[in-house]
């Protein structure tokens, strides 16, 4: 009887195909990830730089949760006589969110009044320091975002009662 010729089994062929495809996918991934990283980095840097215009004009609480162009933020504070710059800023739309995150009061109202009186009795100069302690510390979060990017900053200030 003639000996049957030995060949690859189906399993062996499948395994080799799988290994080959894994290598191919890995290679594609390497090249596409670099591109993605670069584009992300570029857009993020540009966006962070541009969002400085909105962050520097952070007293615009009325803009909360609204879509505004970057020109809206600076139009009242600058005389921009460069048409190209005006046009460019008007094309850059961002979503502005400005909300209070928390407030911090070292002492509550009653305790602060008592504290003030106490201090005033002991030493009139210390009353000034005491009045500082009764102030409220406000934390606000400002978020600027567009379709692909977002950046945020915290604003911390002392509110006089």
């Amino acid at each position: 009887m003639r000996q049957t010729k030995q060949g690859f089994t189906l399993i062996e062929v499948l395994v080799s195909v799988v290994i080959l495809s894994v290598v191919a996918v890995g290679l594609f991934d390497v090249s596409s990830k670099g591109k993605q990283n670069y584009i992300f980095l570029k857009e993020k840097t540009e966006f962070d730089r541009l969002s400085s215009l909105a962050l520097m004009h952070n007293d615009q609480k009325k803009y909360h949760n609204k879509d505004k162009t970057l020109y809206d933020f600076i139009r009242y504070d600058y005389n921009i006589d460069d048409d190209d710059l005006r046009k460019y800023l008007k094309t850059k739309k961002v979503n502005y969110r400005h909300k209070e995150v928390s407030t911090f009061k070292p002492l509550d109202d009653k305790a602060s009044e008592e504290f003030k009186e106490e201090q005033a009795e002991e030493d009139p100069d210390a009353a000034e320091v005491a009045s500082f302690i009764t102030l409220t510390l406000v934390y606000e979060k400002i978020t600027i975002s567009d379709k692909h990017n977002s950046t945020y900053a915290y604003k911390i200030y002392i509110k006089n009662q």
């Binding site: 290679l27 591109k35 190209d84």
Partner: protein, 197 residues
């Protein structure tokens, strides 16, 4: 006699063919990767250059003395200041940024002498840094509140570099070119003097 087990010619040819196929695919993938890498490298260089420009002008303006700060608006801005930021180890040098007409080059002058006193006799006192070529726009604005500065630099075929930061001056520092005429006159007088000497 026992026959030696070996590959047949067909098997060898087939394996070489497969190897060639895989290598050609790999080669095209690697060469593609190298090509895109070189593009990324040049783009990353542009990005770093943009960062460096804005960083340099930010350091200059932020550390500037408010007393001698002046922005003159002609076609582009000419910004003069006395600052603590120095590229040449000088103590509080006078720094001036302007766009030269030749190749629209953005230049930074640094010296212990004020820029307005530059003439052909003392120009070796001034360190000139070529920041970038093909600068289409260089404008520095001061906010009406006199607290912020907005910088706009547009290089050819690139998105503009726009950055705003806090720099309280307490006074208006923008001149709309009136002083420039005087300066030009001064310069021409100086050059006349030099010629006569």
């Amino acid at each position: 006699m026992k026959k030696r087990a070996a590959f047949t010619l067909v098997e060898l040819v087939l394996s070489i063919f497969l190897l060639g196929l895989i290598v050609s695919f790999l080669y095209s993938a690697v060469s593609n990767l190298q090509k895109t890498n070189s593009i990324f490298a040049s783009n990353a260089k542009t990005l770093t250059q943009r960062d460096k420009i804005i960083e340099l002008i930010y350091d200059d303006i932020f550390q500037a003395n408010t007393k001698n700060f002046k922005i003159i608006k002609i076609e582009n801005s000419v910004v003069s200041m006395q600052t603590k930021n120095s590229l040449y180890d000088m103590e509080e040098p006078y720094v001036t940024w302007l766009v030269a007409k030749e190749n629209k080059t953005l230049l930074r002058f640094e010296s212990t002498k004020e820029f307005k006193n530059i003439n052909s006799n003392n120009n070796y006192y001034y360190h000139i840094t070529k920041v970038s070529e093909n600068c289409e726009t260089f404008r520095v604005y001061q906010s009406k509140s006199k607290e912020n500065i907005l910088v706009n630099i547009k290089l050819k075929d690139q998105e503009p570099i726009i950055y705003e930061f806090y720099k309280p001056m307490g006074k208006r520092v923008i001149d709309k070119g009136n002083n420039q005429q005087k300066k030009d006159e001064n310069l021409s007088e100086n050059s006349d003097d030099n010629e006569s000497k």
